[in-house]
């Protein structure tokens, strides 16, 4: 922390963590109370006591104990003795050293896959609640690390942290209901949403509720603004850009794309595709099921594609960009000091160089020019002047960059028919040519990002097609 000594920092953290753990304790206490009062107490295990009686270890009791543990943690942390409520330094070092963009991206993907496959397990309230608690605990334990604190407690990063928790909650809620509905559908029962589909009044049921929400939210925003005022950052300067220089949090996913794509691609083409693609969904979607209720099994393709696009390609990249990208857009572990002096080796190679120089052992072919043509092939000068750029571009595209061009064309032109003939045969049949082609191209565009990331990680590949002469890179 800037200008704070170790002790001063610990003091500051302690004054935050005390109330934090108390809040967690209350949260669990309320959960236990709720279970108890709403008669959802379940005995998980009976502990036989001498005298023939048995002590029932119920869910309410467990959460009560958890609440007590948090209360104890609150006491410890609040007293300023934060070393007891920290993650061990060695553990933090391991996390710092073992994380990186690859691990992070692949790891989140794998995690999402696991969550998806075992969703029936993870959506169980007790499991979800345990995970929920662990998430908070992890945050609390990490706060004592000055570098972690520095990032997470920065007032404009706080919404990102809130977002992670909110997202977890709502994803759980949706999945929970979807799993439940899927089960019911399998059993031939009506879905949950159907159980409760009485019509309700606009006034007071809708408008009144909205009014209350509006007031409550306004009050919340005021409290937030008072307690966590927006930070003043450094003065804008034409000679010095902030380091790291970050987009607004909701665009950080896009900014992350810049690492892998040409700015033109990542900044213009892909965002346009996202917007266009989102708009196209209603026209592409042919599956009538799932209207008005949560389900996964009835529309697995839509579900998986959307969740992958949203959670993996958007949210996790925002989290990555906000919390893990530091000065010079280097990756920093969550407990790593954001040193502006950290340098990462960035030696990326274009596909054409791989192909011509490394594979064939020859130099890169240059661009064609009318001037080089035999005289009988030369057009008049004015025409040559006009056509030369085109000739150069296309000669590069199909000369020097031929491997990349072939790959890209193959990917976007050859792959959709193959898809239509193989795994997406049923889709093709139901959608017709145009709808399928639009869908397939959008899908391929979406897939190109992870593919490009993997290529970068595995081969240090810079661009598949690289024609910097015409600002055309892919």
């Amino acid at each position: 922390m800037h200008g704070l000594s170790e002790a001063q920092f610990q003091n500051m953290v302690a004054s935050f963590l005390g109330p934090y753990y108390i809040a967690l304790a209350i949260m669990n206490g309320l959960a236990a109370l709720y279970l108890w009062r709403s008669n959802q107490v379940k005995t998980w295990w009976s502990f036989p006591l001498p005298g023939g009686k048995a002590l029932a270890i119920t869910n309410a009791l467990i959460w009560l104990v958890v609440a007590l543990v948090f209360a104890v943690l609150a006491g410890i942390a609040g007293s300023g003795n934060t070393s007891l409520v920290s993650l061990p330094e060695s553990f933090r070092d391991v996390i710092d050293q073992s994380t990186g963009p690859v691990i992070y991206s692949v790891g989140t993907t794998v995690m999402l896959v696991i969550l998806f496959i075992f969703r029936a397990f993870f959506v169980k309230p007790v499991v979800a609640w345990a995970i929920w608690n662990l998430m908070w605990l992890f945050l609390g334990l990490s706060m004592t690390d000055p570098d972690f604190y520095d990032i997470v407690a920065k007032p404009d990063n706080v919404p990102i942290v809130m977002l992670v928790f909110l997202l977890a909650f709502f994803t759980w809620l949706a999945t929970f209901r979807a799993v439940e509905n899927d089960k019911r559908i399998r059993n031939g029962e009506p879905v949950l949403e159907k159980l409760d589909d009485e019509k309700i009044l606009v006034w007071p049921d809708l408008v009144y509720t909205e009014l209350i929400c509006m007031i409550a939210l306004t009050a919340f925003l005021i409290f937030w603004a008072i307690l966590l005022p927006a930070p003043l950052e450094e003065a804008a300067s034409s000679v010095k850009t902030p380091n790291p220089s970050k987009a607004p949090w909701y665009f950080l996913g896009l900014q992350e794309m810049l690492v892998y794509y040409d700015p033109w691609m990542a900044g213009v083409v892909l965002p346009s595709m996202i917007v266009a693609g989102l708009m196209a969904i209603p026209y592409i979607d042919f599956n009538k099921k799932g209207n008005g209720y949560y389900t996964i099994e009835e529309r697995p393709f839509s579900y998986i594609v959307f969740q992958f696009g949203f959670l993996e390609m958007w949210i996790t990249l925002i989290v990555l960009g906000t919390l893990l990208r530091g000065p010079n857009w280097n990756f920093f572990g969550p407990y790593e000091h954001w040193s502006p002096y950290k340098v990462e080796a960035l030696n990326n190679v274009n596909l054409s160089e791989y192909f011509w120089q490394r594979m064939l052992g020859m130099s890169l072919p240059g661009a064609l020019n009318f001037a080089d043509f035999p005289s009988y092939l030369q057009p008049p000068t004015w025409l040559a002047d006009f056509l030369n750029p085109f000739l150069q571009f296309f000669s590069l595209l199909f000369g020097r960059e031929l491997p990349g061009t072939l790959l890209v064309l193959g990917y976007f032109i050859a792959l959709p028919p193959i898809m239509a003939l193989t795994i997406f045969r049923k889709f093709y049949q139901r959608m017709g040519f145009i709808r399928f082609m639009v869908m397939a191209n959008l899908l391929l565009f979406m897939a190109s990002l992870p593919i490009k990331m993997v290529l970068r990680w595995v081969f240090n590949l810079k661009y598949l097609i690289s024609i910097p002469e015409f600002f055309f890179n892919f």
């Binding site: 000594s5 001063q8 409290f223 804008a236 010095k240």
Partner: protein
């Protein structure tokens, strides 16, 4: 679903939820409002108001208390005055006036019976009253005691009677007034009529009325006019009459009226204070009103209550990166009283900001000898009566009430103890006190009677409630930086528009303060703000934004308290240590635009010329030009001629056709570029000596030792340490070994190269006429008295230290061989022969012909240069160069040399293997065009002696690497550029551009400041071993500790911050810098850079080549000097404000500032006093006697203006007078110390603790003390001295500027003179020493001074040393001349001397044709001038110490007014002079005094002016006695037969 009343949610619950959220919303809104409303500055303002009101109230109460005592007396006095008898003579006078007036008006004589009766009544009553008064005073003796009441009754009766008398008198007066008014009224009417008639006449003239009618009207007008003049007369008479009556009446009542007036003054003052207090802290209804207007929303309508106080500075912009924005400084919002001065003063702060160390005091309050009597009075009153102390339970700022001194009555024990209003008494005799009752109780009952009680007192206020400490310099309207013009942040930085403590970017001064701020104000380091406030320690840095010359910031007459001492110190250090040799500080952007201070090396013209001279093929003209240019590098025409000549040759060489015609070497051609014009040339000379002729000066051994560790030979040297800085390598033996290996090679190569590469030097030899052998004994006295000590320090002379030149104590060890002795002699005799740009002057050490007691030559001739040289070489010094490796490169050393050469050669183009091949075999000649200059040394064709070539190659590379040429003239490096980062904008350098590297780990580990300090201390004890083995402590425990801190550091670094808690270092004074390093700030960076310049290499060397390692040397700065340098460097921001804010001196100020720089360059102040001491003396009425009266020539009179007199009589709040004395105390003739005397003027023994010390103070400027004029040269006032320190008992003593040597030599020359003549007068000894130069400008003519400075001549025979020749440039001399003139307010650059003009002389001589001859009578009379002065060929006889300058040479030298004043009364100009008043002035004597009439007929004034005119025109006088015509005629006659005279010379003959 059909519509129904049923809702989905229970409405009741919804209502409750709605209610709850609405409530939360209300709370949020209120909180929002409160948060917005409760700004910290509002509280601060209210507190400040309370404080100010408290202080005013305390002053009011104190005054009321003092007045209330006086008030009783006043009442009695007034009663007494109004019961005085009426003087009958006054009444008679009154009567006479009335009667005369009645007579005049032909009115019946008035009846005086009533008045007479009344007067009788008064006087009877008054007699009774007087009797009663007498009885009252003799109370107790009478059995019928009368009481005060009786007296009052009697007095009242008299007063009543007096009123009767006055009533009668008033009747007459009012009658007189009535008459006066009546006449005035009449006149008004007549005048109106006249005006009307006049206009009537005008109209008639216009209308062409008849003459007759006009005449009638004219007559009317005349009638009116007559009437008016009549009335005017009688009005005057009536008025006179009335005022006379008034006067008499007032006279009778004068005593009472005066008393009344005095009392009125006191009452008005009290009322004023009371009003002021209540305005600041209103009570009652207005308080309520104020409170209401402070409410939210309401306060927007009315902002007079608490409000943001801002200064808008549209032109003094702040740089917001994209644009220059106007500054809004809101600092005064909280610092409300920052510019408030104490009442009645212009610059004293009203609420002084005391430094923390002065805020906690322990005072001793005397107690009565025995316990105070029991009394019914309240405790408070008893304390007031016994101690004069009034206390209250209150708090000035803050909420906690404490025992505060409300006020102290003057002249009481409390006042004597030094208690002041506002002091918080924290403890009394060690017992904590929280309220006044404790204190009072202790003082009345518990104290040990007769012994003083000890009070622990907290004095002063916290920020922001105090005033600025330097209101003379800042904020006030009379200061040079008024707040309305400059605001705050331009000097302090910080976020001026902020109104909360945290956001204004205050910067703590140390870790303690930071912790305190975090706790109290929620401070944080807002590193996003580009201009954080400067911490207190660097507050002076920002002066550099507008002040680009050091002289502007030095103490001056107007601001004797140094305005920016730390900054000036830093500036001087940068100059002295030559930082600019490597780190250019370019203060120019283009030829005229200034950015900041400019410190750059002067162009190397001299060096280039010297190097050119090495070319043997120069032709004679070129050689001569080059030789001239060497001595006068500022001579543009010579330089251009040489440049053209060399370039012409270069042009020949550049073309293949003419190449054969070129004579000069290629290197010479290249050199010529160094002679080009420079846009704005630098002005600084290289700080080190020239190494051009090094081999003629020192030997290899000494040189090796010096380069290795300069301070080994000379501990006080300014040369930094380049080698052996290995602290940061301690933990890395392999890297350390590399350093050791290569540094050895570098030192050796450098030593060999510098000697081999140097030019030949022609030593000077003693002149032939010297008869005596050199004598160290004579040399010692010469060394002391010829001025060497003004610049050098030497162990033999402990009383004086100077650092302009090196400490010479050990030079004998340096020059212990024949070469050294020869060199030293040449150097002493003519320094610029060896080093052209040296600042060491030529001392004119010509052979001295010894004289005997009768001033006759003895035939012995000594050589002072040889004597001084002998003295210096005679010193026994046990220093020896040690550990010097044998010369010649053998074995491993040769390999190391080759290895280093390989390191240098290796580059991307030349791989290591190839480089090694080159180094062994030489570089193929074919590669020559691609090689850099130094690499050409290794060409095969040059490779005859590979070792030598390698050595020279490495040496040249090493010189380039370390930038040796930044300080020294090294042949072959004339065109080298400074190697370091420019510092011109370092103060704004983005800290992300600074390479902090592993500095935290270093500081937490091996470089831990605490450990380091102890280590160096230890090392200092074991002296020399430090350089060899700085690390080996040999103590296993220490090593273990070492290791553990190391591992600590590793661990800490992983987290990004070393385990250094700056708070641990608060007491060491370095916590600030550690803190700054921890947060990566530039001041921390530079601190460490200066402290351990190479430490940023910690743990980085492994991955760099040897030559990439850091190279900055370590300068021998201590912590204080380091901070001063940092202060200076941080001020270099290259961000000049709008031009009108930059300091633009007027011509005079500019001359002073520029002159100061030259004065400092040549250390003029080493010998001469440039400014006398200045004592600001505070004293009480009567401390000084009255001065004696002076009768002197009228033109010598110094009249002080009435305002000056009035100012000198002003009492300060403590009732003291002030006077500023300029001069110096009389010195003891034996010790040279200021003489302390007792009241009778007898010297005080050092162990005398009883008598009050006084200084007899020789005034060097006329001054006013207590309204009385004291003139210099007439009488020395006795100044009460401080018992403990030097200076006045109360007030301040500001030291003199310069003259250390004169003061040091004062007792020595007296002792020396007494050997020859025991009768020598001590005070005159000042006249043998370098003269003070305060008034030099008024004294000498500018043209003469310029020539004198360029080429000094001997003037006064009495002096022990003469002005040396500094070989300064004409420009420098001109700056000095202007300086002297400007500093003494004399006209410059030219002056007009009327007395030397033909017209003047002609008009004078018209009246007295023989004026010169008569004046000459005075000159040649044995009693006057020629007694002591030589005149042309005449030499006086006797003791040469009493001789004055040759009078024939006065006319070009001195200004006429000066000569006049000097002859009139020399002591008024030089108080110490032995010259008497020769032409006395006596207004009562015939001819106004003067010399005998037979010498010069006329008054003393005429005699004086005749004498002055003669002296000022001595050349004319002499010229008139010369006849050329006879010579021409004789010559013509002699040559006539030989040849015919050409007609031209015939013309001359005709004259």
């Amino acid at each position: 679903m059909p519509a129904s009343e049923q809702t989905w949610r229970d409405q009741k619950v919804m209502h409750i939820v709605f209610g709850a959220t609405a409530l939360v919303m209300v709370i949020a809104t209120l909180w929002l409002l409160a948060k917005d409303h409760n700004r910290e500055w509002k509280k601060t303002q209210l507190t400040n108001r309370r404080k100010a009101a408290w202080v005013v109230q305390a002053r009011h109460d104190s005054m009321a208390d003092q007045f209330s005592g006086k008030m009783d007396t006043y009442d009695a006095d007034i009663r007494r005055a109004s019961s005085e008898p009426v003087d009958p003579s006054k009444i008679d006078e009154f009567k006479k006036l009335v009667e005369a007036e009645s007579d005049r008006l032909k009115e019946p004589a008035p009846n005086w019976a009533k008045l007479d009766a009344a007067v009788t009544d008064v006087n009877e009553a008054a007699t009774v009253a007087a009797e009663v008064r007498e009885k009252v005073q003799m109370v107790g003796e009478d059995e019928n005691p009368v009481t005060d009441d009786d007296l009052i009754a009697a007095e009242e009766k008299t007063a009543k009677e007096r009123v009767d008398v006055f009533n009668i008198l008033d009747d007459y007066i009012s009658e007189a007034r009535r008459r006066e008014k009546q006449i005035a009224g009449q006149r008004k009417f007549v005048a109106a009529d006249r005006t009307a008639t006049l206009s009537q006449l005008g109209l008639m003239v216009g209308e062409g009325a008849s003459e007759k009618r006009k005449a009638e009207v004219q007559e009317k007008i005349t009638g009116y006019s007559n009437k008016i003049s009549e009335l005017t007369e009688s009005l005057a008479a009536a008025n006179n009459y009335r005022t006379s009556l008034d006067g008499i009446r007032a006279d009778i009542d004068a005593t009472r009226a005066n008393l009344d007036k005095d009392r009125g003054v006191m009452q008005t003052e009290l009322k004023r204070l009371a009003d002021q207090a209540s305005a600041m802290q209103p009570t009652g209804a207005s308080r309520l009103g104020e409170w209401i207007t402070r409410w939210p929303i309401l306060n927007a309508l009315y902002s007079g209550n608490v409000r943001i106080d801002q200064i808008w500075l549209p032109d003094l912009t702040i740089n917001y990166n994209f644009s220059q924005a106007a500054r809004f400084d809101r600092c005064k919002t909280c610092h409300q009283d920052i510019s408030t001065t104490a009442p009645g003063t212009a610059t004293d702060p009203a609420f002084p900001s005391l430094p923390e160390e002065q805020r906690n005091l322990t005072l001793k309050l005397a107690t009565p000898d025995e316990a105070p009597k029991e009394s019914n009075l309240p405790q408070e009153e008893q304390v007031r009566q016994i101690y004069g102390l009034v206390m209250s339970n209150d708090s000035l700022v803050g909420s906690e009430t404490q025992a505060i001194v409300h006020y102290v009555l003057p002249g009481t024990p409390a006042a004597a103890a030094g208690l002041e209003s506002g002091d918080i008494i924290q403890a009394i005799d060690g017992i904590d006190s929280y309220d006044k009752e404790t204190v009072e109780n202790y003082l009345l009952t518990l104290a040990q009677w007769g012994t003083p009680v000890e009070l622990r007192v907290r004095r002063g206020l916290d920020h922001p409630y105090t005033s600025h400490p330097r209101l003379d310099l800042f904020l006030t309207d009379s200061s040079p930086h008024p707040e309305k013009v400059f605001g705050c942040t331009v000097c302090h930085d910080g976020q001026g528009s902020g109104t909360s403590f945290a956001w204004t970017s205050h910067t703590p001064d140390n870790a303690d303060q930071q912790a305190e701020w975090i706790r109290d104000f929620g401070w944080f380091d807002n590193h996003h703000w580009i201009f954080p406030m400067k911490p207190a320690r660097f507050v002076e840095s920002n002066c550099l934004k507008c002040h680009y010359s050091k002289g502007e910031l030095e103490p001056s007459e107007r601001f004797p308290d140094p305005p920016a001492p730390k900054l000036v110190q830093g500036w001087t250090l940068v100059e002295d240590y030559g930082c600019f040799g490597c780190h250019e500080i370019n203060g120019f952007d283009g030829p005229t635009r200034r950015l900041g201070p400019d410190m750059r090396l002067e162009p190397n013209y001299s060096e280039v010329a010297l190097q050119t001279l090495r070319d043997t093929s120069l032709n004679d003209q070129e050689r001569q030009l080059a030789q001239e240019l060497v001595l006068s590098p500022d001579n543009k025409s010579i330089r251009e001629q040489l440049f053209t000549a060399l370039k012409a040759d270069a042009k020949l060489a550049s073309s293949s056709e003419t190449r054969a015609e070129a004579r000069l070497l290629e290197t010479t051609h290249k050199l010529a570029d160094g002679l080009k014009d420079v846009e704005v040339p630098g002005t600084y000379r290289k700080v080190g000596p020239s190494l051009r002729f090094l081999k003629s000066k020192v030997e290899y051994d000494w040189l090796y030792s010096w380069i290795k560790l300069p301070k080994d030979f000379r501990p006080s040297t300014k040369m930094p340490q380049f080698f052996g800085l290995w602290e940061h390598l301690e933990t890395d033996p392999a890297e350390l070994a590399v350093s050791k290996k290569y540094e050895g090679v570098e030192i050796r190569a450098l030593s060999e190269f510098l000697l081999a590469n140097s030019s030949d030097f022609q030593y000077l030899t003693p002149p032939g006429d010297v008869t005596e052998e050199a004598s160290a004994e004579r040399g010692k006295w010469l060394f002391e008295s010829r001025g060497c000590l003004a610049c050098h320090t030497h162990n033999e002379f402990p009383g004086i230290a100077a650092n302009q030149g090196p400490d010479l104590s050990r030079v004998s060890a340096k020059f212990s061989n024949e070469k050294g002795a020869l060199w030293l002699y040449s150097w002493i005799k003519q320094p610029n022969r060896y080093h052209v740009r040296t600042k060491m002057p030529e001392l004119y050490l010509d052979p001295i012909a010894e004289k005997d007691a009768n001033n006759q030559p003895t035939g012995k001739v000594t050589d002072p240069a040889a004597d001084i040289s002998a003295f210096l070489l005679d010193q026994v010094v046990d220093w020896q160069p040690k550990d010097i490796p044998a010369r010649g490169w053998e074995g491993q050393e040769r390999e190391a040399l080759a290895d280093l050469a390989v390191e240098w050669l290796t580059s991307d183009a030349i791989p290591t293997k190839r480089a090694r091949e080159f180094v062994t075999k030489g570089i193929p000649d074919s590669l020559e065009p691609k090689l850099k200059a130094d690499e050409k040394l290794l060409l095969k064709k040059n490779f005859t002696n590979p070792t030598e070539q390698l050595q020279n190659f490495v040496a040249r590379r090493t010189i380039s690497k370390y930038g040796c040429f930044g300080c020294h003239d090294i042949p072959g490096f004339e065109d080298a550029k400074p190697i370091g980062t420019g510092l011109a904008d370092w103060g704004r350098k983005d800290s992300s551009k600074l390479a902090f590297e592993n500095i935290h780990s270093f500081l937490a580990g091996p470089g831990n400041p605490k450990k380091h300090d102890t280590e160096t201390h230890a090392a200092a004890d074991t002296a020399d071993t430090h350089a060899e083995a700085p690390v080996k402590s040999g103590d296993p425990a220490a090593d273990a500790a070492h290791a553990s801190t190391d591992s600590h550091a590793e661990e800490g670094h992983a987290g990004g911050h070393g385990h250094l808690d700056p708070a641990d270092f608060v007491n060491d004074g370095i916590s600030y810098y550690l803190q700054s390093l921890v947060s990566h700030s530039r001041d921390g960076f530079i601190w460490q850079k200066l402290r351990a310049p190479r430490s940023y290499d910690y743990k980085t060397t492994k991955n760099k080549t040897y030559n990439e390692r850091l190279r900055m040397p370590k300068f021998p700065f201590n912590e204080e000097e380091r901070e001063a340098v940092i202060t200076f460097v941080l001020g270099l921001v290259s961000e000049p404000p709008a031009d009108k804010f930059v300091y633009h001196p007027n011509d005079r100020q500019k001359a002073i500032v520029e002159g100061k720089a030259v004065l400092e360059t040549f250390n003029c102040a080493g010998c001469h006093t440039m400014r006398m001491e200045m004592w600001d003396v505070a004293f009480h009425d009567g401390d000084f006697e009255s001065p004696v009266d002076v009768v002197d020539f009228p033109f010598l009179e110094h009249k002080f203006s009435e305002q000056e007199v009035a100012e000198s009589l002003v009492l300060d709040p403590r009732g003291r007078l002030h006077s500023r004395l300029v001069g110096q105390p009389v010195m003891n003739e034996e010790t040279g110390e200021p003489l302390k005397v007792d009241i009778d003027g007898l010297p005080i023994e050092p162990d005398d603790m009883e008598s009050d010390p006084y200084y007899r103070f020789t005034l060097w400027r006329d001054t006013l003390i207590d309204g009385e004029a004291w003139f210099m040269g007439i009488q020395d006032p006795m100044v009460p001295g401080s018992r403990t320190d030097y200076g006045p008992a109360e007030g301040a003593a500001f030291p003199a500027w310069g003259g250390d040597l004169a003061r040091y030599l004062f007792p020595k020359v007296i002792a020396h003179a007494k050997q020859a003549n025991p009768q020598v007068k001590g005070a005159e000894a000042w006249g043998w020493l370098p003269p003070p130069l305060m008034m030099e400008g008024e004294k000498v003519q500018t043209g003469w001074l310029h020539a004198f400075l360029m080429d000094p001549i001997a003037i006064r025979p009495a002096v022990v040393m003469r002005m040396p020749n500094f070989h300064m440039s004409s420009d420098e001399a001109a700056k000095l001349v202007d300086y002297f003139a400007a500093a003494s307010n004399a006209p410059f650059p030219y002056e007009y001397n009327k007395q030397q003009r033909q017209s003047y002389l002609a008009s004078q001589e018209k009246e007295r044709p023989e004026r010169f001859a008569e004046a000459m009578n005075i000159v040649v009379d044995g009693n006057y001038c020629v007694k002591c002065h030589a005149v042309e060929d005449f030499q006086p006889q006797g003791d040469p110490t009493t001789f004055g300058p040759n009078l024939a040479n006065v006319h070009p030298r001195l200004r006429p007014e000066y000569v006049r004043d000097w002859v009139a009364n020399p002591k008024r100009i030089l108080p110490y002079t032995g010259m008497p008043v020769n032409i006395p002035y006596n207004p009562d004597a015939p001819y106004l005094g003067g010399v005998a009439q037979k010498l010069f007929e006329g008054t003393s004034l005429e005699q004086l002016s005749g004498l002055v005119d003669l002296l000022m025109n001595f050349d004319l006088y002499a010229k008139r006695k010369t006849q050329v015509s006879p010579l021409v005629e004789a010559a013509a006659a002699a040559s006539a037969p030989a040849q015919a005279t050409p007609p031209e010379s015939g013309e001359t003959g005709g004259e």
